[in-house]
């Protein structure tokens, strides 16, 4: 049946106009949120996601934000629908929650949904999740249950038929450290969901509700058709891979297994996460929504990476098997504060599983951690509390079958997320950044080299409390097809002029620094792809020239003898090294 037969109220042209239309809606929501936001994480780091959903909670379009939040809003809308019932949701309502077990993430992700009505009929939702810089709970340290992580907002109405829930506002103000910022972010999110409502209604009024509905259905069908077509190009079979996380920060040194299985049959794709670790005591758990997101992100990358909008049609041929109680399907009261770290490694492990059959579409392991750290204290100059967050450090990405990995770029949890400029951080907080640089030799060796990791060293200008929650120090980003592994993530602290560099993991839950002390965080690189001895001598020489690879590594890993000063290649020696 052609599209025209199935959807008589629309046609291919109107459908395409609508596709551009819904993209423009979520884009404008993003613009308005960003411009109105109060905190660095939203404005500078762009840690948020906006979206449009059907009346049933199916994703129509979500703006590029956090890939790993690909399911968070849809599941939230569905939960709100279950909670209130369709009849319990009325015009003028704005619904909110930050329930970790629904969003799958941490309590900072306050998620607003505005039901959109047309002539009294619910026709969809506009939603906005944004990361609040503080939601209460401890600063630094470890949590082992959700109750110690801050304010939990159950599903409720922030606005009930136009009337604002001032009690909720009071509760929020009393539970967060910087109420003006929280309320500012809340207002920014309201601007975003109202923008979504207004613009979506413009489309409905312009083209008619039924035409819009059918066009959206057609867009989803097109996304499904594309996903199925591309799944067919993956050979049938069962593919497995394994990796691990360092630990949960509580049982230090106890590795956490990540085992995935992918089953491809015809145009159906299944991700089986049954053998991922049970949920853990430390705050590295995430909810089942994140478990689904792992599978969806990996699937999207492999089947329709550049198709937009992101909508649920693209996932109709994806099946996810995941029992509850796993570290990526954790149940109450699991601690969720650092929800984002483990799912990234799950995604990478899916790529690893499929590498033997579709080497041209996957990527070697990447640094897979935001490598964020924070410092807080009292600024002696202003007498005010400061909370310094540099945003994601950026690290190395895995090499591909035909290309080097990218250096210094945010991990797969995030997309259009930015770091904070060092100058800006120094203006706002009593710190001096001593360096922000690529780490030579941190990328895995290979015919195609992995991207380089990044190091930042920061010195305190006053006493402050430092914390870092970094993983993947031990499970280093792996190579594929004979490529080497990369440098892992790490952290170090200098106290009284002495560097402590030998942490058992990359987690420093609380460290008190004095004026003049320093900390260093290092993001690892990306794994290499293919035998390093097959890398062209000229590429190795260029890497040495640019300082990405040392002459020593060129010799030992790539079998290329290059003079570090003159960059002259010793051809005979190179032939000898490569013959081995």
């Amino acid at each position: 049946m052609t599209q025209i037969d199935r959807y008589p109220a629309t046609d291919p042209v109107t459908t395409e106009i609508m596709r551009n239309g819904v993209l423009a809606v979520t884009e404008e929501m993003k613009t308005n949120l960003m411009r109105t936001a109060y905190n660095t994480i939203i404005y500078e780091a762009l840690d948020f996601t906006t979206g449009l959903f059907t009346a049933e909670g199916e994703t129509v379009s979500i703006g590029i934000g956090l890939p790993m939040f690909i399911r968070g809003m849809a599941e939230t809308v569905k939960a709100k629908l279950r909670h209130f019932g369709r009849d319990g949701i009325r015009p003028g309502d704005i619904l909110v929650t930050n329930d970790s077990y629904i969003t799958g993430s941490h309590l900072n992700h306050v998620t607003f949904s505005l039901p959109i009505f047309h002539h009294g009929v619910l026709i969809g939702f506009s939603c906005c999740m944004a990361h609040w810089i503080d939601i209460g709970g401890p600063l630094g340290g470890m949590t082992t249950d959700i109750y110690s992580e801050g304010l939990q907002i159950p599903i409720c109405k922030y606005q009930d038929e136009g009337k604002v829930n001032t009690l909720l506002e009071d509760i929020i103000r009393m539970n967060v450290r910087v109420p003006t910022r929280a309320m500012g972010d809340l207002r920014a999110q309201l601007t975003a969901v109202k923008t979504g409502e207004r613009r979506f209604l413009e489309l409905v009024n312009r083209y008619g509700a039924e035409t819009v509905r059918q066009s959206i259905a057609a867009i989803m069908d097109q996304a499904e058709a594309a996903a199925r077509k591309r799944t067919l190009t993956i050979p049938d079979g069962e593919y497995e891979a394994e990796s691990f996380m360092d630990d949960d920060g509580v049982a230090v040194g106890k590795q956490i297994p990540i085992r995935v299985k992918v089953i491809v049959k015809g145009d159906e794709f299944t991700v089986d996460l049954t053998h991922v670790s049970e949920q853990v005591k430390g705050f590295y758990n995430s909810g089942v929504t994140a478990g689904y997101a792992c599978a969806q992100v990996a699937f999207k990358c492999l089947t329709s990476p550049t198709d937009y909008p992101i909508n649920d049609g693209a996932f109709r041929n994806l099946k996810v098997v995941i029992p509850m109680g796993k570290v990526i399907s954790a149940v109450r009261p699991a601690a969720m504060r650092w929800w984002m770290t483990f799912p990234m490694t799950v995604v990478d492990t899916v790529f690893k599983a499929l590498a033997p059959v579709i080497p041209d579409r996957v990527i070697a392991g990447h640094h897979a951690d935001l490598v964020v750290c924070m410092g807080h204290g009292m600024n002696p100059k202003t007498g005010e509390f400061f909370l310094a967050n540099f945003g994601p450090l950026g690290g190395g990405w895995g090499a591909k079958l035909t290309e080097d990995g990218v250096s210094g770029t945010v991990c797969i949890n995030d997309g259009d997320t930015h770091n904070s400029p060092n100058e800006q951080t120094e203006v706002k907080s009593p710190l001096v950044v001593e360096c922000y640089r690529l780490i030579p030799d941190s990328g895995g060796a290979g015919r195609y080299r992995g991207g380089l990791g990044v190091e930042r060293v920061v010195r305190a200008r006053c006493a402050l409390t430092f914390n870092a929650q970094i993983d993947r120090a031990h499970c280093r980003p792996w190579g594929l097809g004979g490529g080497g592994e990369a440098l892992g993530n790490s952290v170090a602290i200098e106290v009284n002029g002495e560097w402590k560099d030998d942490y058992v993991n990359a987690k420093v839950l609380v460290a008190e620094l004095k004026e003049g002390d320093a900390f260093a965080v290092r993001a690892g690189g990306g794994g290499g792809f293919g035998d390093p001895h097959l890398r062209s001598v000229e590429s190795v020489r260029e890497d040495v020239l640019q300082g990405y690879v040392s002459a020593k590594a060129a010799r030992e890993l790539y079998g290329v003898a290059v003079d570090p000063e003159t960059l002259a290649i010793d051809t005979a020696e190179t032939t000898r090294l490569r013959a081995r």
Binding site: E16, N20, N32, N39, K229, G415, T417, R437
Partner: protein, 694 residues
């Protein structure tokens, strides 16, 4: 030549684009505007200027002002044909330029690419020095090291050097000293230091700005030098001014140093033309819509002023190199006449962003293009006449376009070819309407309330659909829409923009500190204006502050009258900020504290403008000579017999009800069935949008 009477009475403007070089000449004495168009000559751009001036029928020797906008700067950057450049940067930060902001907009694409630095790592050198954020020295500059570096740069035959030292916006002493040393040790080197271009924080953006300037500097300098030589040879005795991305002019000497300020000079001049047209016709607010072969661009005139922005991303969002200088605020979408229509994998119909460009071009050009484009669609629907394209210089192949369209689009979709063609046009129009709306939404303005001024080769062809999509009521097609940027330059003023980051709480703002800072910026600007030999009518100073609520991250620029500073009126400043915030974001928080991030100063030297003269109105019905025939054009689901007119024969007062097409050398205006076209006293085509939706 009878000196004094004939000399120095012509103002010349030259806009070099990818395909054509446009000349606009205003004869002050005769009150006459002339145009010349010549093919751009990539090998020697200066030649095309000479050709165009000849075609306009004027002499360089008769001109007192030569105004110039050029793509040489942007092309050098995009085509990577700049100088062998090095970067000197604060110790510990040489990779900032490569790391950038770590973002990955192409979020699911494992083969994503990030920005590609103009200077490779081996050419980025670290300098031992450091400032604190407050501008106090943490580590003194190691001058001996800089000297050694300078000598090394000379040895390795570097042509240009960019210098970025942290917090130089608060204390430029080290950057100034590094520049001095470089000039001493390596004279002849093009040296660019960041604080001279931008005094705003954000080291990656400032770094990218100063590197771009150094990278394009030598080539731009040489190019401007060639023009100067040519002007001298032609006995031009006036002043040579270059158009900046703000639309303001600066002296060629300055342009040779601050090259990065002219990146978007052509598009900016189009917006200036729009402003001039608005001023002449009494329109308060307008959106310019400039559509060419590969892109459509929109800019804004709001309450008589063109809106500018403090930074732009050059080369597409995903791998952009940021440039942090003042620019006209222009939104761009990848839809143009050459945009290709295709069926995507899942069976959906897409228009662009791939473009057939000029080569192979649309199928109907017969130059090897095989994929149907927006231009082919216009031909199939009868909007373009196959035998009148470019004044008949180029015959269009209707049959080939139709065949390609049927095979690649209509049959696979199961649609009628003409119906699908009309659909492509609608898809293109809606896509462009989002760009046009985008430029206003970001400012909290409603595009529907604006007048559209449409130009560029394809602008007048699509303007009616785009305007209708947005709900705009009036479109103006200026005289010679294909020369509009050159026209706009004639209405430019000398302009110098400065920004300095200086964070402070508004409540603690000390006017005794602010005043000297503004005074310094303004003094620099006034001196720059006075340095030019052009007689300015007056110098206008404008002040603004970038402000935000305490705790908020992003600042908004608040234009403020000088009296607020003279009166030390904190309350008025706060109120103006609240108002701006409300307008732009729909919310404000008057009870909350505000802070200042940066001071902005604009110094404008007002030039005498060519008066736009009204022509006496003629009769309503166009002269018979204007009517060029009737042809079937597809409107509202069917072919309608549609009259065509030659624009050159239309006179003020003429009215033409839609449907109609009006043709001129490089452009065709489409008047939709329910719309009405009138020729105003300045010979502009004014289209009033009717009520029918489509």
């Amino acid at each position: 030549m009878s000196a004094g009477t004939t000399r120095h009475r012509i103002r010349l403007a030259a806009d070099i684009g990818g395909t054509f070089t446009d000349i606009a000449a205003f004869d002050v004495a005769a009150g006459e505007l002339r145009f010349g168009k010549a093919l751009s000559t990539p090998a020697s751009l200066v030649e095309a200027i000479g050709d165009g001036v000849k075609k306009a029928g004027v002499n360089f020797a008769d001109a007192d002002l030569f105004l110039h906008g050029t793509t040489v700067a942007i092309n050098t950057m995009l085509e990577r044909t700049g100088a062998r450049t090095a970067l000197l940067i604060t110790d510990g930060f040489r990779d900032v330029y490569e790391i950038g902001r770590v973002n990955r907009p192409d979020a699911y694409n494992l083969y994503f690419r990030k920005h590609d630095p103009l200077v490779k790592r081996a050419m980025r050198f670290e300098v031992r020095e450091r400032m604190y954020a407050e501008g106090e020295i943490r580590t003194p500059l190691d001058e001996a090291q800089v000297r050694a570096l300078a000598r090394r740069l000379r040895e390795i035959r570097v042509e240009a050097v960019a210098v970025l030292l942290l917090h130089s916006y608060r204390n430029p002493a080290h950057e100034i000293r590094v520049k001095e040393i470089l000039q001493e040790e390596a004279p002849g080197l093009f040296v660019s230091v960041s604080h001279e271009l931008s005094q705003e924080y954000r080291e990656f953006e400032r770094c990218s700005t100063v590197v771009a300037n150094a990278y394009i500097g030598p080539r731009v300098r040489q190019y401007l030098g060639e023009i100067e030589d040519r002007l001298a040879a032609e006995r031009f005795a006036g002043e040579f001014l270059v158009v900046q991305s703000t639309g303001g002019l600066y002296e060629a000497g300055e342009a040779k140093e601050q090259c990065v300020r002219m990146l978007e000079s052509g598009p900016a001049a189009g917006v200036l033309g729009t402003r001039a047209l608005c001023a002449a016709t009494g329109i308060d607010s307008a959106i310019s819509f400039d559509m060419g072969g590969t892109t459509a661009k929109a800019g804004v005139i709001y309450q008589g002023k063109s809106l500018t922005t403090g930074a732009a991303l050059i080369g597409g969002y995903d791998h952009a190199l940021p440039v942090q200088v003042a620019m006209m605020h222009i939104f761009e979408v990848g839809t143009g006449g050459g945009s290709i229509a295709r069926i995507a994998d899942g069976g959906s119909l897409r228009v662009g962003p791939e473009s057939a460009g000029a080569a192979p071009g649309p199928v109907c050009y017969g130059l090897g293009g095989t994929e149907p484009t927006v231009t082919d669609v216009n031909l199939l629907l009868g909007r373009l006449a196959p035998d009148r394209f470019l004044g008949g210089e180029m015959k269009l192949d209707v049959m080939a376009a139709e065949r390609a369209f049927r095979e690649r689009i209509a049959v696979p979709l199961g649609m009628d070819a003409v119906e699908a063609a009309e659909g492509i046009l609608r898809i293109a129009a809606t896509a462009m309407s989002y760009a046009v709306k985008g430029v206003t939404t970001e400012r909290g303005l409603d595009a529907a309330a604006f007048t559209m001024v449409a130009y560029g080769g394809a602008g007048p062809l699509h303007a009616a659909e785009v305007a209708r999509e947005i709900g705009m009521k009036t479109i103006i097609i200026p005289v010679s829409p294909g020369h509009f940027s050159a026209f706009g330059m004639l209405f430019s003023d000398l302009r110098y923009d400065y920004v300095r980051t200086h964070p402070m709480r508004l409540s603690e703002a000390v006017f005794d500190e602010i005043e000297p800072e503004f005074g310094e910026l303004e003094g620099t600007g006034i001196a720059a204006v006075r340095r030019t030999a052009v007689a300015v009518e007056e110098i206008v100073l404008a002040r603004a502050l970038d402000m935000r609520y305490v705790g908020q991250e992003h600042a908004v620029t608040v234009d403020l009258p000088g009296e607020y500073f003279a009166d030390h009126n904190l309350e008025a400043i706060k109120e103006a900020f609240d108002r701006t915030h409300e307008l732009r974001y729909g919310t404000s928080a008057p009870q909350e504290r505000a802070e200042i991030v940066s001071l902005r100063s604009t110094v404008t030297g007002i030039l005498k403008k060519p008066p736009l003269a009204r022509v006496a109105e003629g009769k309503e019905t166009p002269d018979a000579r204007a009517f060029t025939g009737t042809r079937p054009v597809f409107f509202g689901g069917r072919f309608v017999d549609t009259p065509s007119y030659a624009r050159v024969a239309l006179v003020p007062g003429n009215r033409i009800p839609g449907p109609a097409v009006v043709e001129e050398h490089a452009s065709t205006t489409v008047v939709l069935p329910s719309d009405t076209l009138a020729v105003d006293g300045f010979r502009n085509l004014v289209i009033t949008i009717g009520s029918a939706l489509r």
